[in-house]
């Protein structure tokens, strides 16, 4: 018998949390992206797990779309990072606080 879905769900939640924490604490825009990817992977894992417990294929189908979104985001996001880097020679988001208040 397979391990309970709960384990995977907790694992996914943990991954999501780690990703969120990384997003909050890392300064490099690139690594923050990676953290977002981690979170999306947590989501994917959740979907797949639910797909199993619900015995329903659509959870897996959705993962597909999430991946596409992730890819699209990365494409544009990296483009933006590049654009910012060209101007500031840094990927650290802490240097981006010209606008505030």
């Amino acid at each position: 018998m397979n391990v309970p879905a709960a384990w995977y769900l907790v694992l996914a939640a943990g991954l999501f949390g780690i990703g969120a924490f990384g997003l909050l604490t890392r300064r490099s825009a690139l690594i923050m992206f990676m953290c977002i990817e981690l979170m999306l992977n947590a989501v994917n894992l959740t979907f797949v797990t639910f797909s199993r417990t619900l015995n329903d294929i659509s959870g897996q189908a959705i993962v597909f779309f999430v991946m596409v979104v992730a890819a699209a985001e990365v494409t544009v996001g990296l483009g933006i990072v590049v654009a910012v880097f060209r101007r500031r020679s840094s990927t650290s988001v802490d240097e981006l606080s010209e606008m505030k208040g």
């Binding site: 391990v3 769900l9 943990g14 924490f21 990296l78 060209r86």
Partner: protein
């Protein structure tokens, strides 16, 4: 205990995937070098792929490896190298006061709360198989394909738009600088 209730392989697979995922994830958020972080990310992605396999999502596992590890992370690495930002980040120093503590508390509460909520619902409460049943074993590619082209047909079409716009955007962001130069040189 564990072994008593669940089959050993499944537990092992879970532990493996969990280890891969968590170590990779912690690596992503803790290593100083972006390149290493990207590599850690790959590790996590593998872990997730393992978890997919363990839960009868073989096709997705493959896609996970190909698309994520193969394309996305490579893209990351490419950019890292391209920009030459593989320097170390001083992660021991946190310029924003209290950021880490608050982040830890906030994330802990959130994740803890989410888990608590999920546990309350016995981890799942939905109706089984609204769309198509998940066929047991690894051979669910067909069902997956069917779902994508029926239930999620519109979503599938929309992804086309999404990708196109991403491409246009990326091109624009990348090309822009040269356009400026072109203008400036002109």
């Amino acid at each position: 205990m564990i072994g008593a209730a669940y089959s050993i392989p499944s537990v092992l697979v879970f532990v493996t995937s969990a280890m891969l995922i968590l170590v990779g994830a912690i690596g992503v958020i803790s290593v100083k070098n972006p390149v290493h972080a990207a590599l850690c990310l790959i590790m996590t992605l593998f872990g997730v792929a393992v978890a997919f396999v363990a839960q009868s999502a073989d096709f997705l596992a493959a896609v996970q490896i190909i698309v994520y590890a193969g394309a996305i992370v490579v893209l990351f690495l490419f950019v890292i190298m391209f920009l030459g930002v593989d320097r170390r980040e001083h992660i021991h120093f946190e310029p924003l006061v209290g950021q880490r503590a608050f982040a830890a508390v906030g994330v802990a509460i959130t994740v803890g709360g989410l888990i608590a909520l999920m546990a309350r619902s016995h981890w799942v409460s939905g109706a089984s198989s609204v769309t198509t049943k998940l066929s047991s074993g690894g051979g669910n590619v067909k069902e997956l394909g069917t779902a994508v082209f029926t239930t999620y047909l519109f979503a599938f079409e929309a992804t086309a738009a999404l990708l196109i716009i991403a491409v246009v955007g990326a091109v624009l962001l990348a090309r822009r600088e040269s356009a400026t130069q072109g203008e400036e040189s002109a």
